[in-house]
């Protein structure tokens, strides 16, 4: 099936290039993940250079340059992610345009979790409606790429506009005051790589301002496998009758929805979904119902 194979391809790209490192990685895992990134991103770079910790090692510099170039090359391996990026904004706009009694401020504060090379973070920071973007990723190498690319745009260098932090979500301190939290917390093409999605999402939720949105994109099939192995057992157990294995193969956006409802999020229409599919030659297209079998966006609002 064409749609499935294209979804798979996207997933492979996502895994390799956008967010390698959102899971709370052990040191060993992280190194392995970066090595995978090296192999995929830059066939010319020496593999061993990824293990080098010295920032002045010439081979690492050259490796980093190769990596940086391919990350932002519009015809490089990240092309599908670049093409998807405008849709992220389309989806966020759709979430934010839903009317609620307590509106968000005119200028929004974003937290982008697993920012990678900064494809989304940069674009969010350029929007006139943005006050600030904080973008985090625990992998130092990809943050270097993001920092270097940010230097190419004077707009992004305005103080406070875009801040990269080499942190995992666990390391990011949770603001004491609700007001100091974020209007939009984004998690794009990350969830499918997280080993314990439920606790990971719970971490994220603590950074969302009341009335703010948690927005993510992922892929139904991959989410399925994580749900089945992790969340299903822990959280969805009470909702889904035990032993419905045939059905559990197709766990999708519905489970996410039910999980959030259980958490008390997304009531009164504060939950949005958008299925998308990549059509060669045409780019990403919205497909109603696509969330059931392919890539999809999911947004959920924290009650004010």
């Amino acid at each position: 099936m064409a749609s499935r194979s294209s979804s798979r391809a996207v997933h492979a790209f996502n895994r390799a290039f956008e967010q390698t490192s959102q899971r709370p990685l052990s040191k060993r895992q992280e190194t392995a993940s970066i090595t995978a990134l090296t192999i995929r991103c830059s066939s010319t770079a020496s593999q061993s250079s990824a293990h080098s910790q010295s920032s002045v090692d010439p081979s690492e510099v050259s490796h980093f340059n190769n990596l940086a170039e391919s990350w932002w090359d519009p015809h490089g391996p990240s092309r599908l992610l670049h093409l998807m990026n405008p849709l992220r904004h389309t989806f966020i706009s759709r979430c934010l345009s839903t009317p609620f009694r307590s509106p968000l401020p005119q200028k929004l504060q974003y937290l982008d979790v697993g920012c990678g090379g900064g494809i989304f973070a940069e674009s969010a920071a350029r929007l006139p409606s943005t006050k600030s973007v904080t973008a985090i990723d625990p992998t130092p190498e990809v943050l270097k790429i993001a920092e270097a690319h940010r230097k190419r745009d004077p707009t992004l260098l305005q103080p406070g506009r875009l801040t990269y932090l080499n942190k995992s979500i666990e390391e990011l301190s949770i603001p004491g005051a609700e007001k100091a939290k974020y209007d939009v917390v984004s998690l794009f093409e990350v969830l499918e790589h997280v080993s314990t999605p439920s606790s990971f999402l719970e971490q994220l939720m603590q950074h969302v301002k009341p009335g703010g949105w948690l927005v993510l994109s992922t892929i139904a099939r991959t989410w399925t496998s994580w749900m089945v192995t992790n969340v299903m057992a822990e959280d969805v157990f009470g909702i889904v009758p035990k032993g419905t294995h045939e059905w559990s193969k197709y766990v999708n956006e519905e489970e996410l929805r039910e999980w959030f409802v259980k958490k008390g999020w997304g009531s009164d229409g504060g939950m949005k979904v958008m299925g998308v599919v990549y059509v060669p030659g045409m780019g990403w297209k919205e497909v109603p119902g696509g969330e059931g079998w392919g890539n999809y966006f999911f947004g959920v609002r924290k009650s004010a």
């Binding site: 519009p74 670049h82 093409l83 990026n85 405008p86 904004h89 389309t90 940069e122 674009s123 969010a124 920071a125 350029r126 929007l127 006139p128 943005t130 270097a148 230097k151 190419r152 745009d153 004077p154 260098l157």
Partner: protein, 484 residues
Amino acid sequence: MSPRLPLRVQWARSSLPRRFASSSATSPEIYDVVCVGGGPAGLSLLTGLRASAVTSNLKIALIEGQDLQKNRLPQDAQLDRFSNRCSSLTPASVKNLQEIGAWSHANIARIQPYQEMQVWDGVSDARISFDWDSARSMLFPRKPTQPTTIAYMIENVNTTTTLLDRLTELGGVDILSSTKVDTIELGQNTEELDLSSWPILTLSNGRTLAARLLVGADGANSPVRTFAGIPSRGFDYNRHGVVATLRLEGPGRGGLDHKIAYQRFLPTGPIAMLPLPGNLSSLVWSTTPDRATKLKSLSPPDFSAMINAGFRLSPTDLDYLHTLPSGQADEIAWREKHMQVNESSLPMKVIDIQPGTVASFPLKMRHADTYTGDRVALVGDAAHTIHPLAGQGLNQGQGDAAALARTIKSAVETGQDIGSLLALEQYNSERYAENNAMLGVCDKLHRLYSIESGPIVGLRSFGLRAVDSLSPLKSFFMGRAAGV
């Protein structure tokens, strides 16, 4: 993409103090859009960007070598004198000008809509006529609300003045008029800022600008295109377009309210007469360089007679008339006594030529390999030069401007860097195929009608007559010409 070359623009004036080659000596002024060239395409793009709320925050500069104020159409321009550089604006172009709020600034008295087009073969006399009534079938007659105008004849200076007025009204663009571009080079990567992908322009007034997006609206020999390393391919037709503003014996066969454009395909190229207000008309006669020189050297009465002959006499007669050193008017008057022509299907006779309007320019076909590079976009003649026989050159530029404005708008809405190749992709894919098709059609028409005898003449005549008798097909062709 081919590597970009530092560009040393030839026109850099040697009297100016020599400037540092490196732009790092002074930090450049940062702009979102720098447009080189204040012609109809460049002005239309910038007006479009300023007119939209989404793109109104962009910092924009326009650089034009000529004095834009001096080249404006005077408010009190006399209606009996018209520029020889006119274009046939399609309804699609007019619609865009309306949308960006420019059309209301136009000097309407100097614009002539036309409702009918007569096109025929100079060898076989096969003819096709276009008007919206005959293009509809009997079953579906034209509704009164539907347009009757095929296109609008407008002086290019009227178009640019219209756009400049609207742009001035909108404000917010740094207009650097009478300013030349000395060099374009890539910027530097410093500790704080990496401008290594940004074109840095050094100007004749000493300023240096860094462009997030550099727009080449700088004509057929586009220095911006050269900087971007984008090749432009094509050929010269070995033809010149002779232009002039003509005075006719009357307002035209259909009167002042039903103006008609005429085009006759001759083996040397088409001769076209396009209506202007009152008794005036605009001539575009594509012919060989030798004949163009000859026509320009004739006295006004002889040239007028030659234009009348160009629509009436046979190619053989015309060949002979071009060999005469002078006296064409007498010769043609004598010949016309001895032949029958159906004057009702021909343009009214030329009685005079407006002094100073006879000119010619070489016809070329050029198409850039792509319209976009990293932080570069080409519009108008910088991207493509077309055979003028369908009058599509200016319209293509307007279409480019509208499409690029749309592309920039959607890039801003989604936070993309408007200079990135990725953001510009939509513009290139939208315009390239469209323009390429139009270039191809006009080129093939030129070649088809260059043939004087043999089976092709019969076939093309059959083609014209067939199209003429088929309303839906005609409607399709008219739609293409009108850009709707």
